[in-house]
Symmetry: C2
Subunit: 356 residues, 2 copies
């Protein structure tokens, strides 16, 4: 057991111990005015006439007393919070987490932080949460897999959002390409009876994913059998929803040799349902996922999937918001509506050539 005992002060009454020294204190100590300190510490033009010696005194004192400008005072004055808001469905499924990693990587460099809220697909929170963020004076909003249900003039960038709204940039996957990769892969392996699992209606990629897949199938002369299509239902981020969907398809008794799932999580559930009914993956049925979550490579069988570069998408979203903040007076008409990133087909062991 670690006996890493550290001592901190006996009680917590002393608020000031945390807030530290103010510019006023420091100025009094140096016998200078607050103004001079501010000018020097922020390296403003007004400090030009102040001799280096005095500047050094100021810097030394700031260092010695570990002066940090008060965040609220500074933000109040500057009307700037150095904070973005991020709206996500919820955090535990790994999808949003990957995007947030990218967001944070970019923001940290610029001294920005972010507040997160989860809407859990609830209509009230979808409106309320962003409003709370705006009251908190966030300078911009990143919405991950989340529809925009709130008005604002702040910069807004979505990740996997598909609402066409003036002034809002959507960072999206090249879905045409993704569908081509996925359907093409299965087609090349000889599959002609393919089952599809559609996403939940609330998921912002559901529609476009389905449209592009339909097109890619049509192009190859595949027709989509309604009995081989099921939709995910329920908002828990668990493979269970995929399991239920696959059970439904199996109940249709229509033969098929491959499944293109909405995402990896539902692919995992599908595999379970298939194996329960005696079908082996990939010998009897090939399964293709989407996203490439960490576990995908280590499932049994390892999952073939379409990778979305979620980390990059998070970075791109954050960069886009920061760019807009840096440019004063942006013409909304010139904000790009869409930024596209490319998917990648990752072939593993859950797909195989169709049996003769």
């Amino acid at each position: 057991m670690s006996e890493n005992k550290q001592q901190i002060s006996k009680n917590r009454e002393s608020k000031t111990s945390e807030t530290g020294v103010s510019l006023k204190n420091l100025a009094a100590h140096l016998g200078l005015s607050i103004t001079s300190l501010s000018l020097v510490l922020n390296d403003k033009p007004g400090a030009n006439s102040i001799p280096q010696e005095t500047k050094d005194r100021i810097f030394r004192a700031a260092e010695e007393f570990n002066y940090r400008p008060n965040y609220f005072a500074r933000s109040l004055r500057a009307q700037k919070s150095f904070t973005l808001g991020v709206v996500v469905p919820e955090l535990s499924d790994g999808y949003s987490g990957m995007v947030l990693n990218g967001v944070e990587a970019v923001l940290a460099k610029e001294g920005y932080f972010y507040l997160t809220t989860s809407h859990l697909h609830r209509d009230d929170l979808l409106k309320h949460n962003p409003q709370m963020l705006i009251e908190r004076q966030v300078e911009g909003i990143i919405a991950v897999d989340t529809p925009i249900r709130f008005p604002t003039n702040l910069p807004v960038v979505t990740v996997s959002g598909h609402d066409k709204i003036n002034g809002i940039t959507n960072v999206v996957l090249n879905h045409q390409h993704a569908a081509e990769l996925g359907v093409g892969h299965l087609f090349t392996l000889g599959h002609r009876q393919i089952a599809f699992i559609k996403g939940q209606d609330f998921s912002s990629d559901t529609k476009i994913r389905w449209e592009t897949i339909s097109e890619a199938a049509l192009k190859r002369g595949l027709k989509i059998e309604p009995k081989l299509v099921a939709q995910l239902e329920g908002d828990i981020p668990s493979p269970e929803v995929g399991y239920v969907a696959m059970k439904k398809i199996l109940a249709g008794k229509k033969p098929f040799t491959a499944v293109f799932a909405f995402n990896d999580v539902s692919a995992i559930g599908s595999i379970r349902a298939l194996e329960e009914s005696g079908l082996r993956v990939p010998q009897d049925v090939s399964v293709l996922g989407f996203d490439d979550i960490y576990a995908a490579a280590f499932l049994n069988p390892a999952l073939t999937t379409i990778r979305q570069p979620l980390f990059e998408m998070g970075k791109l979203a954050a960069q886009t918001v920061l760019n807009q903040l840096a440019n004063t007076k942006i013409d909304v008409a010139k904000i790009p509506q869409t930024l596209t990133v490319e998917p990648e087909l990752v072939i593993r062991n859950s797909t195989a050539a169709v049996k003769k």
Copy 2:
């Protein structure tokens, strides 16, 4: 393609459009003083003498102009940020996400938000990130699976932290119980040669988990074979690290019939390594995980595991911080050092009775 077009204002120069109306504006409009409005809107004792009629006028105007107190001004005055800081290793593995869901559930009710930072197990960020949070005036800190490397007088609560520091509360699993459940389960199934995968050194549960498991094994007369123990290495939250560890154990050529993995993610990697060398799970080797992540139920085979109530742990951590904030002048000596939550054994298909 959704044609959900909405119109927002043509350009973004108008800062005020977002910040809204101030108390000053409102007071001028009503012909009253700022003081009166503040008193009435905050329902302070000073408003007792103000007639209901005037109060109603104020409320109506506030409603009409959608008045919201400026967050910075209020916080500057009150020296209160209504914000906590949360420090995590990183966000994409689902573990921290689950905890954050719990944290948010509690904070949202109280009008609190939280800022997140990831330290990526880097020593510099382990110090720097919490300091940044403190400069941002967070009122308390929740550290998830993260060692405390910074001094502060703020309330600090860890989730799965084991440093014994005065004034810091650790929300932890009952590890004795967890070890008993895990080792007991394998023992009951007849396993006597058990392999173990230890966590990475940076993971705060590694030590205690190992100690309690060793005890539980000893208690049953099992001796732990060094060749059957491997430690996770590398800080990516991927099953790959478990795969590598299991390869190492297999290379030792020492026979065993069960594996107790550090967590579900490494259990997944282990299963892959076992099956690659021709061992079937659970017929030849039983595999026991830890955490019960979402995917655990849907692996093939479905993973037997020890569930940690991460969502509850997040809630408990947040509640504990808020409690400390509500009580002024807390005696540090009276802050509980540990809050314990109970694990649960979830039996699925990756464990089975040992072959005769």
